[in-house]
Symmetry: C2
Subunit: 223 residues, 2 copies
């Protein structure tokens, strides 16, 4: 019942490979939009152009599809945090991390929403992954932040809280896209809006850590 971070089974035929990924793709679209309960196998089938029976030939159950989707997204979803490099400059690294997270929210909002849905409901199916993989990753990267603090490159701040606030702000643009669109008429798909969003988050985070805003590229007018 638990999602594994492991790699997909090998030795699949061409057809299997193609169809499984089509199902995962369609499943992601549906599950992220309607949640687990709100999604039916039939709807996934329609969205992939396959028959319901055929989905159940490739995956033994609805839950199996869901877990495959989750596992498929997990690695790419956690990649940005993995990239945090202790040997580089904290301002550069944090800005780069925020950039990656905003990029993810802009380009793969469904992935963000899928996790939001899952966690919101108590993370019943990814609890194990979170307790193991994610927890150790967060601890490792917290240590990176503490390392910077020890070196005097960063003001003292609770590393875990810092990570939470970055997650919160960046993922908010994907998870609450509907609300943002209603209130501003825009989404991260709009380049200007995306720039504003990234700049605001970066500004809050860097200043919150006592770092200077190094304005990479152009950032329009803020003052």
């Amino acid at each position: 019942m638990t999602v594994r971070t492991g790699h997909p089974a090998k030795g699949l035929s061409r057809i299997q490979e193609r169809n499984r990924s089509r199902i995962i793709e369609g499943g992601l679209a549906e599950f992220s939009r309607f949640g687990y309960s709100g999604t039916t196998i039939e709807k996934i089938a329609v969205s992939t152009g396959m028959s319901k029976s055929n989905l159940l030939y490739y995956f033994s159950s609805k839950a199996a599809i869901y877990e495959a989707v989750l596992a498929h997204i997990l690695d790419v979803w956690l990649a940005p945090l993995r990239g945090l490099d202790p040997d580089k400059d904290p301002a550069t690294e944090l800005a780069a991390y925020i950039h990656q997270k905003i990029k993810m929210s802009a380009e793969r909002p469904e992935a963000s929403r899928l996790f939001a849905n899952e966690v919101l409901q108590g993370a019943p199916r990814i609890q194990r992954v979170m307790e193991e993989d994610l927890k150790s990753l967060v601890e490792e990267k917290s240590e990176v932040i503490r390392h910077w603090i020890r070196l005097g490159k960063l003001e003292a701040i609770d590393p875990v809280q810092l990570i939470f606030t970055i997650w919160a702000m960046t993922q908010h643009y994907a998870d609450f896209q509907t609300q943002i669109q209603i209130l501003t008429g825009k989404t991260l798909g709009d380049p200007d809006f995306r720039k504003d969003a990234e700049m605001t988050v970066t500004r809050l985070v860097l200043r919150g850590c006592g770092l200077e805003l190094k304005d990479g590229a152009d950032q329009g007018d803020a003052a």
Copy 2:
């Protein structure tokens, strides 16, 4: 089909008043945990100790219960933002707003999760409320922030982005409670953790706006 902010119908009998609020209470618990599709009338019935048929005596349908829950929560949920006072000091006001939002996330996490669930799925049932009430509220309060900026009391910042980041960070503690609990073992229910969370968010926001942290009360050791 649309939720109204209006006040509950009057002229209800004692029994109606009591049972309707019991149903709304139970509905909030279930809907916020499992989303609309994941919640059954039967489950709400069990959680309130009433029969399924009886719920349908008080509310004509599952959707009607859901909308009643949403309407019931909406006012209290938006109250903190309404309190933002243009005539007071921005640092005080922003800190107070964050304090209220954190308090809400700590004391009524289900309310936060209910909205998160709803917005995540495209806000199909509160779209109108958001387009009208929420949008005008946000515009009004954006103007307050611009007012502060004009007076030179606040650094230039996009007001809407600022509001979004505050929502994102404060609500994150409620919406992602499960994840936070897995990673830290704590929730906002823990006074120390709550203090850390509030301090981190306040610090990021105030510094992000070029304001000084006025450390109200005690705030432990951060340096």
